[in-house]
Symmetry: C2
DNA sequence: GTAATAGTGTCTCTAAGACACTATTAC
DNA sequence: GTAATAGTGTCTTAGAGACACTATTAC
C-alpha cells in the first residue's frame, strides 16, 4: 500500500510514541555589588518540591513559536525583562535526570542588569537572586547543579573574547565598573590598559556624560552606555589565557 | 491535600501532556579528495519521503541512556564508526519545522576519517557522502538546510582555534595534507610556517615514518598520526581572522 | 599640599603573517 | 642540471601584559 504524505499525517499521533519529557531552563545572571548572582526559584510542585532550581519548565506548544521564544517567556515571567543577552548553552538529556522518566532540557543563559525578581507565578513559592557560589552549594533540584556549572563555564569563556559582560550592568557605568564586571565574570584580573584598549577597539560603548569616581573620591569618570544592539564582537585573542 | 513525591510520580503520565516531537540529527563530515563531504540519507518514510536529510531520528528511550549516546548510535548506524569527534552544535525547535507538529531536534556534528556508508537501515533508501556545497543545494527534508549551515559554521569557527581538522584524515598523513584539511574546513588559506608552528606547539601528532610527497614528486614527507585522544587544544589566537 | 581614582605612554613579549631561503627527491 | 615538494630562518605586525606616568578631583 502506498500512502501519501497527507494520509500519513492524518493518522499520525505523537501519543503513540514514547517521547522524552522536554523542558527549557534558563540561568539568568546579573551583577549585584560587583558580585555574580544567579536567579533561582523554589519549586512549588513535585518532583523535588521545595528545592531551589533554575527558572524553567515545559514548552507551551500553543504560545511558544520556537525554542528561543520559550526561553524568552521564562525570562520575562521571572524578571519582566524582555530583551537582553540570551543564548543557548547546551541540551542535556538522559533517562535518569528526572524521576518522571527520560528527560531532556535545553539550557539557556541570560545576562541582564539587576531587577527585582517577579513572584507572580504559581509553580514557584519563591524567587530570588543567589550569589553564584552560594547557589552552587545548595541542594538543587534535578541536575541543576551541573547546569549551573555549564552556564558558568560558558559565561567565563565568552567573557574572555567577547564584550558579554556589558549586559550585566545598569547603564550608565564607568570603565572601572565595566572592568570589574569583566573580572568578576572572567574570574581573573585584567590589566587596566589592555582592558581599555580592547573596549575602545570594540567600539560598543557611547559616552553619556561624566559621573562620580568609584568610592566617591578622585577624578570624575566618563560614563558610558552600550551601543544599541551591542554587536556580537569577537576578539581574535582571548584575555587571561597565559600560563 | 498534601501529596508525597512518591504518590505524585505514581500518577504521573507524560501522555497527559502536550510535548514536542524530539529527534537527534548528526551532520557527519569527512574529507574526500581534500574536499569537505557530508553524509546524507534518503528518507524511506513520511514525512518528506524520498528527500535527502541528515542522519538522525528519535531517541530510543530504552536503548539510549543519554543524548550523546543517542547521537553516537546514529553515527555508528550509518558509518560503523564508534569513536570520533562528536559534539553538540545547537538545538532547534519550533511549531513549524515538522508537519507532524511542534518539533525539536538536537543537532550534533561528527568528524571522521572516510569510510563507506552503511546502508543496512530500513528507515532509509540510500546513504551517501555529498560534497558539502552540493548537499546544500538539494531540496532537503525539514529545515535540514539550516542545520547543515549551522554545523558548517561551527566547523569553520572551531577549525580556526582548535585542531579539529585532524579528525577528518585517515592516518598516517603529511603536514601538507593536514594543512589542506585545515584550509578546506576553514575556508581560507593558511601560511605554511604559521601552520607548522602552531601544529608543533599543540603537540597533538606523533611521527610514524616517512612517505611520498604530495603529487609523488619532490622531497619525502614525514608522516604523522594523531596522539591518542587528541587533546581538545584551544589556541589563544584564531587563524585567518584578519581583515 | 595628600590621597584617591581616572586615564595615558610606551616598552616587552607572544604568536600570526610574509616571504625568502635551504633540503631532498625524481627525472 | 631542473622541477617539485618539504621544511626552516627571520623580519614584520597586532595586540596583550607590565608598569610608570600624568590628570583631576575632594579634602
Amino acid at each position: 500500500m502506498v500512502q501519501s504524505e497527507q494520509e500519513f499525517l492524518k493518522q499520525y499521533d505523537i501519543r503513540n510514541y514514547d517521547v522524552p519529557l522536554t523542558t527549557v531552563d534558563v540561568a539568568i545572571f546579573t551583577l549585584i555589588n560587583s558580585q555574580l548572582h544567579v536567579l533561582m526559584v523554589e519549586r512549588a510542585e513535585h518532583p523535588h518540591k521545595q528545592r531551589w532550581s533554575l527558572p524553567g519548565g515545559f514548552i507551551d506548544l500553543t504560545q511558544d513559536t520556537n525554542l528561543q521564544q520559550a526561553a524568552l517567556r521564562k525570562l520575562k515571567q521571572k524578571t519582566g525583562v524582555k530583551t537582553s543577552h540570551l543564548e543557548q548553552v547546551e541540551t542535556i538529556g538522559s533517562a535518569k535526570r528526572d524521576p518522571r522518566g527520560w528527560s531532556l532540557t535545553v539550557l539557556y543563559m541570560a545576562l541582564i542588569p539587576f531587577v527585582e525578581p517577579l513572584k507572580d507565578d504559581l509553580s514557584v513559592t519563591d524567587a530570588k537572586w543567589w550569589p553564584f557560589e552560594k547557589a552552587l552549594k545548595q541542594r538543587l533540584a534535578f541536575d541543576h547543579k551541573v547546569l549551573l556549572g555549564q552556564a558558568r563555564d560558558r559565561l567565563r569563556a565568552k567573557s574572555g573574547y567577547t564584550v558579554l559582560p556589558v549586559h550585566v550592568l545598569t547603564p550608565p557605568f564607568t570603565l572601572t565598573q565595566l572592568q570589574q564586571s569583566f573580572e568578576e565574570l572572567l574570574g581573573v584580573a585584567i590589566e587596566k590598559k589592555s582592558f581599555r584598549r580592547r573596549i575602545q577597539s570594540a567600539d560598543v560603548l557611547v559616552e553619556v556624560g561624566e559621573g562620580l569616581p568609584e568610592g566617591g573620591r578622585g577624578r570624575k569618570a566618563m560614563l558610558y552606555k552600550p551601543k544599541p544592539g551591542v554587536p556580537q564582537h569577537a576578539f581574535v585573542r582571548a584575555f587571561g589565557v597565559d600560563e
